[in-house]
Amino acid sequence: MFQRLRNLSYLFISILLLSCASTEKPESYDDIVGGSASYKYEAWRLNDAVESEAIKVLLTEIDALIEDNSFNAATDKLERVLRIKADYAPAWSRLSWIALQTDYLERSIDMAKRSNSFAYGDTRLQLLNWSFISTASKALNDEDNYLRAQQKIDSLSSF
């Protein structure tokens, strides 16, 4: 009996903790940023109907390079994407992500901001970029920017 009560209480506490966690990070944020090992964020997904074949080809090559941990080569190709379409926000966002992976934290913040400057109306991508800014700011011990990024994440998540 006591054992069963104890198990039930553990279960209850676990559910409580999980629900707390989900209020701390809104569902939409988790959906987008995910914390998964995969770098292929939904926010980067190609709009097949809109994007040119040239960009599609390059992005396919970029994915292969990233899977191969060839970040420099992937960066080169992302720059080629931007020469084709300077305002292609997902490419800037990928540059931010690569900078984050390679510990170029300030560069990651700059690229994420640039991505956001082209991500008008794309809440999903803005949220992802703010998550990069938040992570990089935290790693830089930049409390102000970290908190600002968190606020942005919260406000965007509420959409």
């Binding site: 040239a54 080809v57 720059e79 901001k113």
Partner: protein, 788 residues
Amino acid sequence: MPSNKQKSSAAVKSKSRSTKKVTTDKKPVRSRRKTKRSTTRSKTWSKRAVVFVLIPGSLLAFLFYLVFLDQRITQRFEGRIWQLPAHVYARPLELYIGKSISTEQLSFELNYLNYQKVEQLPQKSAEYRHWQNIFEIKTRDFIFWDGKEPAHTIRVKIENNKVVELINIYSNSNADLVRFDAGYLTGIFPSHSQDRVLLKLDEVPDIFIKMLLLIEDRRYFSHLGIDPRSIARALVINLSSGQTMQGGSTLTQQLVKNLFLTQEKKISRKINEAFMSLLLEYHYDKKLILETYLNEIYLGQDGRRAIHGFGLASEFYFGKALKHLSIDEMALLVGMIKGASYYNPKRNPEHALERRNVVLSSMAGAELITERQLALLSARPVATVKHASLGLYPAFVDVVKLQLQQDYHAEDLRSEGLRVFTTLDPYIQYKSEQAIKNTLPVLSKDESLQSAAVVVSPLNGDILAVVGDRNPSYKGFNRALNAERQIGSLIKPVLYLTALQDESKYTLATILDDSELIYQDSNQLDWKPENYDKEYHGEVTLYESLLKSYNVPAVRTGLDVGLDKVADTLYALGGKQISAYPSLALGAVNMSPMEVASIYQSFSANGFHSPLRSVTAVLDKERKPLERYSLEVGINVKPEAVALINSALIDVTKYGTAKNLSKNLDLQVAGKTGTSDDLRDSWFAGFSGDIVAVVWTGYDDNLPTTLTGSSGAMKIWLNLVKEVAYKPYQLPQMTDLESHWIDGNNGLLAEKDCENAVELTFIKGTQPNQESDCEAAASSNWFFNLFN
């Protein structure tokens, strides 16, 4: 002991000498005997000296001589044989559906890359066919920093200055993205100006090697460095003809002569050459020697640049790699060995053709080609590529060197064979040069009036073109980089941006005071700024003040926001650090066109600054990546405030001091005129969606011109931009921005049809909350009609 034969001979010699002595020195007999005995003894010693000292000494000296030669050879061969210049390339052209490009530009690019126009479907690399708006092109393969780009055979269709069709001809499928080879720009040469493209033996076609050995050294693989049979044959021919008809030098001897010796015709040089050839062959493999020969041989001159090796020669004369040459082209190069100047196909095509056909005949004789091939190949004309003369774009190359010097020693640039990929856009460079060359004479007949221009990419700060002189190929003073001149009103967007960043105090509708202002500096000296029209305009909006470039309200605003803050904003936008002083508000600060371009790049990118770069990557001589200069971006100003400034800068080109631009351009641009005191400097800085361009005009000695920013530099800017810009400048979409109609007289909210109404951009919530009681105008465009 000397032998008997030697003894008697010595005795004879000593006898004759002693006889001579008797006749000259009449000494007593006893004394003579003594002398004779001592002479004989000394001769014996001489003989011994010859045997024991001179012969071994000579042998030793000879040995030292050989060791010396040997050291010279091994040191050179085991170290770096050549100083290889850095080769500098322009940016590669990329084609894809939707790419903005005119047929004129594509033709220019193909010509720049030395592609040959043909009448049929291109079969060989670097050939193209063109009719109407369609191009069929076979590109060259090329090694870039991110790998090898293969050759493509494509059909390109251009409509309305855009690529609308891009097809792989052979597979009849869409080509998604085609990158052309990068055009050769220049070299950074060692002092001797030798240039070469290194070849490896396995990159050289077999037929070429056979042809070369047939003509130059048939027994190359069997002799030891010198070929007595060849020497004897040459001797007989030359003696019988009475002149030097034929040389007997092997390839090894030719290589030794070129690498280690002079061209002088002396027996001592020939002796050195022979011994060094033997030593070279003793130490090194025949294949290495042959490979070195292929890269060393002198094959002509291009101005100061000496063309060495078949790798460079094939590119220089035919615009393609050796492996892609036809047999007649190869024969021409091999024929040139006999006399690179006399048989130069560019200078003396008849001599070159004659010599080429001699080579082809020899090949037929040796059954390397058939008689039919001989007839066919011999009938072909000598065709070489037209080459842009070296030394083009010196102003841009200055910028490249400046960037490279941050990471490389000057010596390495001249000797390590680096391949430098730059951001130069050859078409924009050409059009920039043309704009200056063609417009300056229209502005003034005075040929000492100078100009400079810088064109950069808004996206990434890539420097696309630089012109530093009215004669663009002049290699002297580079005004784009080094002429620091007062920028005048180009400072005003920076000043007003500083104000607009304080959104609680300033908006585009803020009323500024344009009345007399006397400023007393710290030395109690009065300064009274004036407007260009020498009038005051009372109360004006910030927007109108920027549009019409009023000076007095600008000074008041600068003093109000703090000139130190203006200096900070300038720095945040990519300008240099300057100290603050009142006349800064009117642009009394010296800057080069390059520095101004750096600032206006930030405006064009809505506040995001990318440091200007002229180099994107450097490869080593093995074509492996050495350095990559990645895109950088940062922001230190409020993007919303920059958008407000840019909205006003668009209107400057429609209704303000640069209104003539909108009348002459089909696309929307933004920009600002600048004129310094007494019309000493005429500036225009502006941007479309795809380029930022800055033009300066003035005199080197700082004398006044008769030109304002709009009557001088802007005209050059217009002629440049209308040729190379395809995309209009659009304000960025931002959630925090919105537009409102404002009464231009008082800066209050107005109805659209109100007289003086103007639509201005605001950061949300900063628009005026009072409404103007202005009356409706007959035309809602009255405000702008007034300006026009």
